[in-house]
Symmetry: C2
Subunit: 403 residues, 2 copies
């Protein structure tokens, strides 16, 4: 039946991350590969209480029955209120669509905007899951140059901005690099978007995880007409609920609702009711987010200290101000994917950088995730990696000397 | 930003059902329009106990964390065992993919199989949600003639069968007609499929709801190589969990897993854990399904009795052996969509038939859903409809006489 596959299914490749994650399920692996949030930051008590409340109330029938495609009305209202206050931008509930995790938002946005060969602008590197979602609609990617301050908006010409269907960006503590787009670049990007009617797809799962609690304005607040904002409860509540949301103009939301109805009718009612119960009680996020920040900041610092202690001086990495990832750059002649094979044989895992590029580019980078790894394992894992890298550097030097 | 929409988003039409469902949310409407299962058949006690068990056990971390795209392993195993026993066909867990409601299965199958203008065979009429899902991939529909015994497989020529990407069918108590495909037609259809390498997409949300408990063999059990089977927990557990599953060859499942990963990473973990707890305890379905059958059979009979009592002799309907729907056929010159406008003004709702056809066809049919309506309201609603129809028949006769 293979010959019956659609063209899009035929060209679909298996994901490198997927294969890696299988290996990292073994309990004896020190895995810096996963993008999982830390379970010790899950609000277990609040979720139990909320679930009890839902199941004991007359709401139980709503929680177990079919619901509206747009999402559970009180949760949409809560999100609108939360964002309006947090970002000082008026968001109406009619501008909020609940999705089954923000991965679904990426799929629906790809469906809404991309025809074959349409131009889509992405960061360098960018989130693998976004590439997987968009790939199904066969865009032509234009990679926007990026550095430690995020993407460089001044490198986007007006012609490219005007022609592109949209620009996809994670401005806060990006996956995979952990980078944050600076405030002045946000202003430049937004001005360029407004000038050229460029749609900005702003993916913001890590925005609340800034260690110092110092937010930068989201693109949506700077250019609401141009921006489709994606939020997620995976990192501030728990990912197993699969709850995310899209905020955009009512015109976009109207179309996305139709696409979502065809995709899965609606996001599960029960998880929406539970999330609403947790979020709406006792200013939950006001006291929960600082707890996550503290745990993540501490593990990040521990990994940064380990990197500093063990890595050879030829290796570079960034100092994240938030989020879950550190981006490591090796000398150019060391291939991170080859390094991974050796690392796994020594029970350490990470994600090689090349998987995060729209066009094959840097092969000497990798992503480290630190939030689920206990401190002693962070040190041990980094030490093992450092020794392997050191060995390669010396081996390469010897080869150079011998030539 | 309208001009940025993809072609598929531009041609997307708003659903008639969707607009109707909005009206039927008003509490004073007698709605035969919804496709909702009856809340009095929800297993509340079992779901509460199961949820408690999940939240009190160490499984809670799994239930709240990211999980595998394929679904929660014990639930996949349970489904494989259940189907293997029920349908006397060996199903392996590797052949099971958990989806976020079987609507998602339709979307993923469309993605996997349909290129623009590919031929897809559908029943006449067929499930609106399937048309909505497949439409996004722009197939050319070929409508297969159907009658009270379901689709007519002998009307499918070998050429058409060989050329089509797949045939989509709901063999049991079809939505919208309530019809069941007879056993001999199943055999004929399966023989034709095997002979022509035709893929059968067998959507079976109502299969367990046969009032007499007399199952007919599913197409999957007759032709496992040709069939992609879609199951749902919406009607035998509750729809608010949004849990369905696909059973197919490992080759199909492998491709569908990749597509699902791009679509929403995975179905919520929490709802899967809860469903597994309910399903795996005390042979839950063995005693729960008969309860649902009893409630549904009783309401169906009540509606059939009301139809018989009030409807003029020119109106025809089927006698369902299971499921949630009755299909009513009016005299050809009465338009059911026009009838609906009047009916709503008299606080009764149903779904006009024309919305269920791939190509605009019959305008004189409508779908009645009976399972969520109390008996006294069934009688009152049918009486109102019958009077309206009677009035139209007489009005038309007068016009004919006057001409």
């Amino acid at each position: 039946m293979h010959q019956k596959f659609s063209h899009r299914a035929q060209v679909l490749k298996s994901s490198a991350i997927r294969e890696i994650l299988k290996v990292t399920e073994q309990p004896d692996i020190i895995s810096f590969a996963g993008g999982l949030p830390a379970p010790d930051a899950f609000p277990l008590t609040e979720i139990k209480t909320a679930t009890d409340t839902v199941l004991q109330s007359k709401d139980i029938y709503g929680a177990l029955q079919y619901g509206p495609t747009e999402g559970y009305a009180p949760l949409r209202q809560w999100i609108a209120d939360y964002l309006s206050a947090r970002d000082q931008t008026a968001v109406k509930p009619a501008q909020v669509l609940i999705v089954t995790g923000s991965q679904q938002a990426l799929d629906l946005i790809g469906k809404m905007l991309i025809d074959s060969d349409d131009k889509v602008l992405v960061e360098t590197p960018t989130y693998l899951g976004a590439l997987q979602a968009f790939n199904q609609y066969a865009p032509e990617y234009i990679a926007i140059e990026s550095d430690s301050e995020g993407l460089k908006p001044e490198t986007i010409s007006d012609d490219v901005a005007a022609e592109a269907k949209f620009l996809y960006t994670i401005p806060n503590f990006q996956n995979p690099t952990g980078r944050r787009l600076t405030e002045s670049r946000r202003q430049t990007l937004v001005a360029k978007a407004k000038h050229n009617h460029l749609i900005l797809v702003e993916d913001d799962p890590y925005g609340d995880l800034d260690y110092q609690g110092h937010r930068l304005p989201c693109l949506y607040s700077l250019a609401p007409e141009n921006t489709i904002y994606l939020g997620s409860f995976s990192k501030i509540l728990t990912p197993g609920l699969r709850l995310g949301f899209i905020v955009a103009s009512e015109q976009f939301i109207g179309k996305l609702v139709q696409l979502k109805q065809a995709a899965d009718l609606h996001t599960p009612s029960l998880t929406q009711y539970i999330a609403y119960q947790v979020l709406s009680k006792n200013n939950f996020l006001t006291h929960h987010i600082p707890k996550i920040r503290e745990i993540y900041a501490k593990r990040c610092q521990y990994m940064l200290d380990s990197l500093k202690r063990y890595m050879p001086r030829q290796v570079h990495w960034n100092q994240p101000e938030g989020g879950m990832f550190i981006w490591v750059e090796l000398p150019e002649n060391i291939n991170a994917t080859e390094l991974l094979s050796d690392a796994i044989s020594q029970k350490v895992a990470f994600v090689p950088g090349e998987t995060f590029y729209a066009h094959a580019e840097k092969t000497n980078c990798f992503r480290l995730a630190f939030v689920t790894v206990p401190e002693e394992k962070i040190e041990r894992g980094i030490k093992i990696l450092a020794e392997m890298i050191n060995h390669r550097i010396h081996h390469l030097q010897e080869k150079t000397v011998m030539m």
